[in-house]
Amino acid sequence: MAEMPVLQGKGISMKFGEALVLDSVDVAFHPGKVYGVVGENGAGKSTLMRILSGFLQPISGEIYVDGKQTVLNPYKAKELGIVLVPQELNLVEPLRVYENIFLGDEPTGRFLIDKKKMIQEASEIIKNLDVDIDPMELVERLSTGKKQMVEIMKALSRSVEILIMDEPTASLSEDETQKLFETVKKLKTSGITVIFVSHRLKEIVQIADELVVLRDGKKVYQGALSDFSETQIAEMMVGRKMDEIYPEKVGWEEKNVLEVRDLNSADGKIRDVSFTLKNGEVLGFYGLVGAGRTELMQTIIGVRKLSSGEIFVDGKPAIIRSVKEAMKNGIVYLPEERKLAGLILNFEVFKNTSLMTLDKISKIVTKPKVEVERFEFYRKSFDIRVRGPYQITHTLSGGNQQKLVLSKLVETGAKIFIMDEPTRGVDINSRYQIYKIISELASKKMASFIVVSSDLPEIIGLCNRVIVMRNGTIVGEAVGEEVEETNLIYMALGVSESQEKFKE
């Protein structure tokens, strides 16, 4: 009666060292359906995906493709049309977009690579996805979001039967995400199975037909998505009730802790930006990828040169030409790319906590004992899950790494926190904890926050006031009731504006 699954795993278990990361998981995927796979970081999602696409061999369990038991390896998987778009980008940066799309699978003429055909086919794929990418562009010049799209195109250029995407939307803008979803729907109607891993439950609800929930390496649910709400799914993932992911919004005092006046960056990426941040406020910055939010924040903290404009901290003019000077003025920045800019990954965790504040602790010779004490304080209060202060940072999960970055920033005693995508790649539990830390510090008026995020629910859930940017400048602001989805998206896209012009 039931159709045969195109891909099935039975009793899949996997160990890394001593840790059991997958515990006899049974999953089945049918053709022409979209599967949403959810679970906290460390639940085993990525491991399961890598096993299902042949990049990892499970320690026990069987995999069936079209009903036949198969031992998968990357080549076999490719042959069978199983394609994985991994979480980490795997592009060759100095090559062009079309070269990356066809890397390892170049169409050839008699002897040489058929360049014309490659470019033509690449343009076709790009057109189908309806994104603004030049196939001749060098990949290194693309934004992270666009790189992610190239990675997806690379998968689509192969003959795909089963498309597995691990967190494909993590760095995509809302617009790009919607375009990706259009493509997924097209694939689905042509009978392709799409397996979609995401932290964003809203996306899962939007796109998936079936839901797979993993928790601590075990499958806790597979079945119809039916009418599960985001909260219900989150509860399945976490295994406990979660009343609200976002803490209650807090008010602010009518006192400017930060004021930016007519700021222009020397490279022209930021034009005439003015705004204020109130005491105890959690101010959102929304915009499409490339709108200039990150660039603005980098200009404020002195990483990017400004050509004109003034910055006032607590009403007094501040000159900020480096991160150090920003820190002296009580401003710290949590960078967008945690692994690239947030942490020294090969350091013991405690050394990351104290990295910005060694001057406070010691004159010349370091005092590891004091540093460890400081780390232990944050380990407790932020619930940073580590084996100990000497664990190497790169072995921590994304959520714990982010809390570690936060500990480093809070340790400076700063009053103004600029958080650029604070919960990207962070599991729900840690996400909740990070929100709680923000709201606690803000409500006690111990700090004020700027939250830059492409995650609309996050911005809406956290912020009472949201500033929207487009093309390097501020195009709108929403306060209180106005902070809602369509309003923000319209402002970010500039749609309402063009409609008004159209009316005229």
Partner: protein, 314 residues
């Protein structure tokens, strides 16, 4: 800990012990105290330079100029003493001048790397050619001879039966270890080498720290230059320091310093230098053809890095 972890962590120590045992069995004279002291003496010149190199490499750089840099500093020290006369004061003054100039030239390389954004390989390759050309030019291709007996006596001096270069080397190892592993500056050196961007965002003055590593490199070269030129009483403009850059990098790499920065220890470099010294000594004692000694050294360097990679890929 798995066996593999133990081997990779203490691998260099194991290698050294095995080498010493093999050498001791093949040639009992090897283990004589005088021979051991000789080994320390021989490696101290390269060793001191390798310590500076370790700072530079952990900070994410490299210095290819150290060989000709050393010849230039040796020549400078000798010419300064010759000009100032054969007194204790002039010897001390010329040593201080040499160290100061070495620090300054190191700062120059560091400045070009940090502020000029020129890859360190290129900057120091250029510096290597420039320094050698200067040394050759002022001596017209010949030799710088020391006319000061006081200066020449330093290099051959012994304290408690131990040669001065060896003592200087051992003290230098201890001081460098403390600076790199116990000070804020040392922490920052690791940070900028491991992840420059993250260091920048953590309010670390990346350029300043990077330049400082090259200053330490320059000081190390000067110290080594003073020791070797005073021992020889001369500097050959064409041959002094030849190949030193490779031996210094080799000592650091064998000792576990990463060519891509952010990783390494002074103790490792010290042991790496010892391994090189023991191999050289052993090959001489075993009458292995001089021309084949490079082959053995090369194999050891490659295997050392191979073993480090095995560990990383786990």
């Amino acid at each position: 800990m798995h066996l593999r972890d133990v081997i990779s962590k203490y691998g260099i120590l194991f290698a050294l012990i095995v080498l010493i045992l093999v050498a001791g069995i093949l040639s009992p004279a090897f283990l004589k105290i005088q021979n051991i002291i000789n080994i320390f003496w021989q490696i101290s010149y390269i060793g001191i330079i390798a310590i500076g190199m370790t700072f530079i490499m952990i900070g994410g750089g490299i210095d290819l100029s150290v060989g000709s840099f050393m010849a230039l500093m040796g020549a400078l020290a000798i010419q300064t003493v010759n000009a100032l006369g054969d007194t204790v004061g002039s010897v001390i003054l010329s040593i201080l001048i040499t160290i100061a100039v070495g620090a300054l030239l190191g700062a120059g390389s560091g400045f070009l790397v940090a502020k000029g954004r020129i890859p360190p390989f290129v900057v120091t390759l250029g510096a290597m050619a420039i320094y050698r050309s200067l040394v050759l030019n002022f001596a017209n291709g010949g030799v710088y001879m020391s006319r000061s007996t006081k200066y020449s006596s330093i290099g051959m001096m012994r304290i408690l039966e131990l040669p001065v270069p060896m003592i200087v080397f051992l003290i230098y190892v201890i001081i460098a270890s403390i600076i790199l592993e116990r000070t804020k500056f040392g922490r920052y050196v690791y940070a900028i080498g491991a992840n420059e961007t993250a260091a920048l965002y953590s309010a670390i003055n990346v350029d300043k720290i990077r330049i400082a590593t090259y200053v330490i490199g320059g000081i190390s070269v000067s110290i080594s230059a003073i020791l070797i030129s005073s021992m020889m009483g001369s500097v050959s403009s064409s041959s002094t320091g030849n190949g030193f850059e490779l031996d210094a990098i080799a000592a650091a790499v064998i000792g576990g310093t990463s060519l891509s920065g952010g990783k390494g220890k002074i103790v490792g470099t010290f042991l790496g230098a010892l391994v090189l010294g023991v191999i050289n000594n052993m090959l001489v004692m075993l009458n292995v053809a001089v021309y084949l000694q490079g082959l053995v050294k090369g194999l050891i360097i490659i295997s050392a890095v191979f073993l480090q990679n095995v560990r990383r890929s786990e």
